[in-house]
Amino acid sequence: MASSSSLSERIDSVKNVKQITRAMEMVAAARLRRAEQRIEALRPYADALRRMTRRAVEGAQSLPDIPLLEEHDSIDRVGLLLVTGDRGLAGAFNSQIIRAGERRARELRREGQEPAWYVIGAKGAASLGFRGYDLDGVYSGFTDRPAYANAREVGQDIVSAYTDENIDRAEMFYNGYISPMSQVVRHETLLPLQQAEFLGTDGEEGDESEEGGEGTGGQGSEEGPDHSRALWIYEPEPGEILRQLAPDYVEISIYRAMLESTASEHGARMTAMRSASENADEMIDDLTMQANRERQAQITQEIMEVVSGAEATTG
């Protein structure tokens, strides 16, 4: 019968699809693990930078003018940095970032402000370009495995735009990584830098990190802060060091967002591919059942023919 051979062809092709989705799931899982390790690798650097900032704050007699900490008097243009991926096939991963960015842009326009688009990832760039928006910055080709240099490039553009007053604020949207199964759209303010975050004026761990962390825990603490301040050498003076540290915070925030986004993308793709494989399994079961039924019907038919033939001759 024609239909049973076409059924088995369909079963074969669904099996092929399943092999591909299964392979893509494995690849995504391996890349996800690597992305998670890179998030871990950033932590010691970010913590150490924070401790150095505290040290420079200690050393500064008064806080210097740091343009990145200052709010602009009037807000006309707001930089929106969207972190998307270079590829699709990852569920709502890209579209939910683009939607969140567009929603924010509508809000800004209602308040008489103009969005300035900065987009990481070819998918985001393509869909915003398709809508006819002018993009101030497009960065792609690395979202599978972002390097710090990529974040630095983006950060430098946004910091320059803010300092040169081409934009008056900067906000960022990205897929925050919670677990392979769940990502959440995060919306953060990049600029102006929050004073509490940069200078650590919330002061929770301020005293502990005084001695530079990984050293010989605790022994130096008998020296009072005044004493230790007198001994420190700063090169250049602490205010200048703080001014240089500020853009590093922006770069680190962007880098961390890129890494989380990458982990989220691989997680989302892994999940999407797993459910595609499961769908394929279901389809294979259904088709196999159907094929069995048809085969059974055919056998029954043949038996009937034999029986009735036999009856006809004996009768």
Partner: protein, 137 residues
């Protein structure tokens, strides 16, 4: 004559690249070359792109092409934070040359006195320093 070794850690955003004892660390600040020996006074400094040299006991020297960063010395241990640190043999001359070229072109187009211009100036400095490190081996 042996010097007293002290611990040095070199961190980048992409991970730790060095964590061991050395007799001397040499790098570069805005003021010029800087060498740090054991028992140095507490120091916090901005580092410029250059060749980072770590002199181990026994005369062996490890070198890195180091980008901008910071150096903190406290309680006889040094912490180097740099945006990038590459082994000289990982550097790709033609790649660096094209990046330098690109940065120089962008620099020409950037407005005088703008932050954008300062950014490209930093890029030029970095790639020049990396090329020097690559060339010296």
């Amino acid at each position: 004559m042996a010097r007293t070794p002290f611990p040095v850690e070199v961190l980048t955003p992409e991970g730790k690249v060095f964590d061991d004892e050395v007799e001397m660390l040499s790098t570069r600040t805005g003021e010029g070359s800087l060498g740090v020996l054991a028992n140095h006074a507490p120091l916090l400094a901005i580092l410029e792109p250059t060749e980072l040299r770590l002199h181990r006991e026994g005369g062996e020297v490890e070198t890195f092409a180091q980008a901008e960063g910071y150096l903190q010395v406290v309680e006889n241990s040094a912490l180097v934070l740099v945006e990038e640190a590459h082994r000289p043999d990982e550097l790709d001359r033609s790649d660096l040359e094209s990046r330098l070229e690109e940065a120089r072109n962008s620099l020409e187009g950037a407005e005088e006195g703008s932050e954008e211009r300062r950014g490209y100036e930093r890029d030029v400095k970095r790639y020049e320093a990396f090329l020097e490190v690559e060339g010296s081996d």
